[in-house]
Subunit: 313 residues, 6 copies
């Protein structure tokens, strides 16, 4: 839905968010602190364990092939690895989910807002002007999105005026991220329109008001979404339950373990279909050594098949 | 579901609501105050800005053609006009929605209940008898519904015994209003049965108990639904988010503005489909004068087309 | 706290409440419906079971002597009588209580607000002008309070801008009602200042904003406070738990029964102090006929003492 | 989803639940109290009004034919009978429902957990060893399920580590109960996987963690689910609203009454379709004696048809 | 407050709880299971780690001297020991606290209720009659209380009709337990009266209704209070935050550790009073070896003083 | 309460917070961005409207005389000025208040935590080591507090392990800030001990666990407390309602306006004491010109007295 002329103006003053010209962002001045974004070096430092390539601004870039392979991951498969690593704050739930059956997968692009405060915001705007950024809205961040990104927004659970996008910008995000997705600890508007757009979205609420009474305070900085800490470049995976933010260094292990888990599920259900066993005789691990052996062979065979099939693509 | 013999009787005494014979209502005594309904003159006075015809009891009657045109309105389109007018208390959300994809449109027929209080209720019943109304239930109001009405009920969020209808009366409301709809700040029963009936409904909860422990205190008086004040004859519009109650005097402007908003949305998405622009170059308003010009022409052309098409019907 | 010049003006327009000149109220036109107040006759009709005198506007006036005697009533003592009468919707709890140890007793003076709606409110203002009421605020109602009244306000639980009084008006209410009290299903402001004023108050929340975005829709009409229906002239009694609204016709019986309950409590504790009985041997009723007899005599004696003492005053 | 090797071990110690070998259960020692299950005699005593056969452990067995007939029951139809009997604590709602359109019907198999407490749990494990039960998990109970059972679990609303099953065990429950169902006052995991399995389920929440930090304290004992008391062998019926637990002695009456209610609904809607009546002229009971007579005849005829049809199966 | 004659009768039928004659309880039949209480042997088995004496019914009896010493314990001091032992489910909070400054200490006497269900309750009543228990109320349990007990009641958070005591029975509990105390996961009534009685109490809510619509299902069995599992004989300790249920086997260690913690606190504040140190130089442990040495000597000296003082009593 | 040896170690690893040596902070490297604190220049830039002196790290220093004068401010007095300035996000409420009658006044010292994430936290620790900071806890921030500071902590509402201080550190904060105070959007522990310490505190919850599973991410950066944005150096004022964070540039105006408001209150109550006026004749502004004149003179006189008195100190 378009906001009408009067609300356009209102919005420019009301939501008072601001950003960075794409150009400015990619060649940040290394000489002083910036509130709204990390320098490339900082981003590299704070995600030092990333085993993959990076975007030109330093953000980790989980390879497309792994992003694609992650499409079927469930929260439980990710939990299995992350809890072993002691990463217990990478999951957030309690969202409204736009398309419950459609999985969310992509690289985290993070944005942070705080309640509007004119004195602070004024300084930010002045500094922005020094970087030749004429106006400052949520679109400043949205215009920086890349294919494969998921837009992760900390709007501190705000409902009224906490609407990061309506259907027009949701459509733009879908185009820009190539259907990546949206996770907002806040709200959206135009739900009827958005429902017809084929991109996954997780949000706290819906409201008819546009974004306002907030100020943009960070792009691609660490953000808090519910009880999770999200870093730019995390692999975002959402299912019917909630959203996991996987640090890049664990992506490969999560995917490999998921292969085994699925083979185990496949085999377990096959055994249950035989109607010969009590659940505890087969699950979580067979009690009979012969059956255990049978499983080990099945696992080996299926893993080989899967890898062969994967390599043949 | 039918309530069995015993609960029939229980109900007549339990919910102790009362009403007005249709006849009595349409020719109200103009000489003294009535708790449960406005006199025709009062209704006319309090909705004096209504630009349309009225029902015989004084309730504004937004024309069928505009009701029909309103079928595709979204909450955001209505917000755009009403906030400009300073009408900020016309929206209510947080409902369970029976058929999320099906839009709700119609004229508000309002009903108010309060917690049962036998002394007060007794006086109401006595006064009702004076008007030759033999028994008093939620059906007194329901039997007054007209085609195109939406039944708006203030049951103060009550769940147990706050069930305005089950599937039989829901079916009757559907027939009587010609599929108009129901908004209840309270509950319904027989959800399985109701799910199969093709009428929009917005409710707070579902409960197996019948309505009870309440008394009817108003028909077609101003009522409060969440944070909204609803007057009889308001145009009710519900989408996937919530429900708007549009005062009749703003209906035309809302609809005209919505035409422009949809053309703007249409055009914006077309531009985004071209993959040439950052979102802020096009939305909310084009930065490039040529593109702006292009939009102005598109808007003009499409408005004409829409009007032509509408008139040709 | 005083609202400063600018907010004075803001308030006149913002909260847009209105009322009735004291004079106008006491001689209401009997010939047409009024939204904001009952005619004297209506008030008499709807409280027909009132056994006591009435104020000049028709409101029941529980005598001062009974109001005074009610000062020590507890919620349980009132419950004992009202549930027998089938009056189950006369109690409301969940309030913040200003002075928890101080009991609230007085006659209900009711006020109702609804969310602001300019078209409706404009008609009310115009009608008010016809009655020579120049401006319309919460003070219109407050200025009508009588000694012994408790101000009962339905502000539908509103927190921000739902503040019926700050410390200045709270002080005025205390003076005007002779320390009667306040029950608001909404909020107050200036809690620090109000804490030092010796009048009982029950409220849902506290907020620094003044009342606003609401309109006055009724004075001395039936109002809903939580799950209770309150009529003007009800005897209001609040303790550490919540607030009871006693219909005038039950006041005498409640008080008489309370005498017996207190004697029973007195005697029960005395027996427990003897350390000879299990609780079930004495309470709720003695199992041993001799002890039962002892209680009957104690009850008789103490009732006589209490009545003698009461009459001697 | 399979839990990986490490979490298997963790789980065996973490959730520390325990049970009874099927053999042990069906021939319980009658000489001393057991925490986790009733003796056969106790179960018979406490469900003495059961008019049907019993399982070998004493649990009432509502016949398959009645279970099948119950498939279309709604909460309202059950309410109509149970409230007349004074059974007001047999209903629980507020669940997430896995397949809203699919009805839940079956015999209650109850399980109770409490927060883990190592000293108490240790004693239970020792006693279990005496009965030759080697390990103790939620599967001990699950492995005892029979066709037609619904698994009813009191996990006191626990979300994290309150997940009675993931998709593997959910699949097993479906196979073992022949699609019976699950009601858990707690949570489940693997929602994506579970969504594809065709068995009704009612649960409070979803969480990626496995069950843990709890101990099994009862199998087929009375349990509390929300505000309801459930006994083993109750007929469980769930619709879009919530779940009813019908004591066996009322099953026949509920079903017979439901026949009448449905015929009444059928007829009522037919009358409404004629567009000749106000709702109160037909519903809940016809005001016109001729119409009443018409209904009585319709009812009689349809009842006969239904019974004939039922018998012919 | 006394319940009047009519409600006495109502109550006997309404709350339908039942119990055990004191005599019957202390010499329980060891030959079959009882729903409402453990046999003496079961109670001994399930609290086998208790290092202290027992009551005649098998319940652990933490000695009076340790109960007295526990009077000053804080939740944090108990947490320090119990989390080391892996006992993480022994704490419950979120209560309303009657006398916030007054500590709660005593031995757990547990009672469990479930939602009323007439068929089940009828069997219990019949069995009770076989044990010559004429009527069944909450007082059956209350009449079994011993000096030093704290009454622990699982009423599953029920507010209306979940009121375990009013002021009369609260007074009796105070006398019978010698001021021990009350913890109820449910409500109380007569708050004004109870406020004047000098016994600690923790409750979820207050309501004017008497207990009802529930049935007694256990006395001195394991109960759940919030997220905690309580066994009969646990040492109950409540402060301004919440309530800890300490298994008897940890009481001595908790108390000894608390001595050290308090000496550490005492010394830490003394050092802070010297205004020479940053907090991290002293707390939690001194960084400077000399200061550390100073603390060790202080600890030794004070421990000796405390023990000497304790022994001299 | 002291945490015992084992939990000391646990804590160092568990809460994994870190900071800056006081020395390091006061001479920050100006050449690159720091996550946890602003450079002096940034702090000056972002609080450029501060009219007062600054601390050596750049934080605005509202003069002691104004801090002292602010001691009696109420939320309403501050609201009166800030809403005029358009600063609507400077207030937060919903706290538990330690000493409700004791006002909170001081300069904001802000601290921010986020959910623990080992990879990110590891980088911070490494960077800290480069600045010769050996270990990282909440005490790193606490040890930097100055007299007159109020410690403002964003712990995102965390209860368990969200406890910024227990009684030892609370005592230290009291000494270090000279009784300044604490506002935490999180919890505290040792409430019994803290209750005896004479410093104002506002917190969301109380829990027996120590701080943990979080990491320190900012000292003296902008933080969010409820719906408010707080900058270091804001004047913090708390009353019985909530907490206001006043930007330094408005402090003088707030205080001057408060003088007038209090005189107005004083005078208004005097007039009400005369029992001659309806509230609306005097408040908010006198309707009678003579009375208005009287007020103007009273105001002038009292303002002079107050200023004289203030200067004479």
């Amino acid at each position: 839905m378009r906001k009408t002329a009067r609300s356009f103006v209102a919005k420019l003053f009301a939501n008072a968010v601001w950003g960075i010209l794409a150009l400015g962002l990619y060649t940040p001045s290394a000489t002083h602190a910036q509130l709204w974004t990390f320098s490339k070096q900082d981003l590299i430092d704070y995600t030092a364990q990333n085993p993959f390539e990076r975007f030109s601004d330093g953000r980790p870039k989980v390879p497309d092939s792994l992003v694609e392979r992650a499409r079927g991951l469930s929260s439980e498969e990710i939990w299995a690895v992350l809890q072993e690593k002691g990463f217990n704050n990478q999951y957030s739930d309690g969202f409204q989910i736009l398309h419950p059956g459609k999985s969310l997968v992509g690289r985290a692009f993070t944005v942070q807002f705080m309640p509007q405060r004119a004195d602070f915001d004024g300084v930010e705007r002045a500094k922005a002007k020094d970087h030749a950024i004429p106006h400052l809205t949520n679109q400043t961040a949205i215009d920086m999105l890349q294919p494969g990104d998921v837009l992760i927004v900390d709007l501190f659970g705000k409902k009224m005026n906490g609407t990061i996008v309506g259907d027009n910008l949701f459509y733009y995000v879908m185009k820009a991220t190539n259907g990546g997705g949206l996770v907002v600890d806040g709200s959206i508007r135009d739900l009827d329109g958005i429902s017809e757009i084929d991109m996954p979205a997780y949000f706290r609420a819906v409201d008819p008001t546009p974004i306002g009474n907030v100020m943009l305070t960070g792009i691609n900085v660490p953000v808090r979404i519910g009880g999770a800490t999200v870093l730019p470049g995390d692999l975002v995976v959402g299912d019917r339950e909630g959203v996991y933010f996987i640090p890049p260094q664990f992506v490969q292990e999560v995917l490999d373990r998921a292969d085994e888990i699925r083979i185990h599920d496949e085999w377990t259900k096959k055994k249950f279909d035989e109607n010969k066993y009590k659940s505890s005789e087969v699950y979580p691990t067979p009690t009979d050594p012969t059956v255990k052996q049978e499983y080990q062979e099945y696992l080996k065979k299926r893993l080989e098949e899967i890898r062969k099939q994967r390599n043949s693509k």
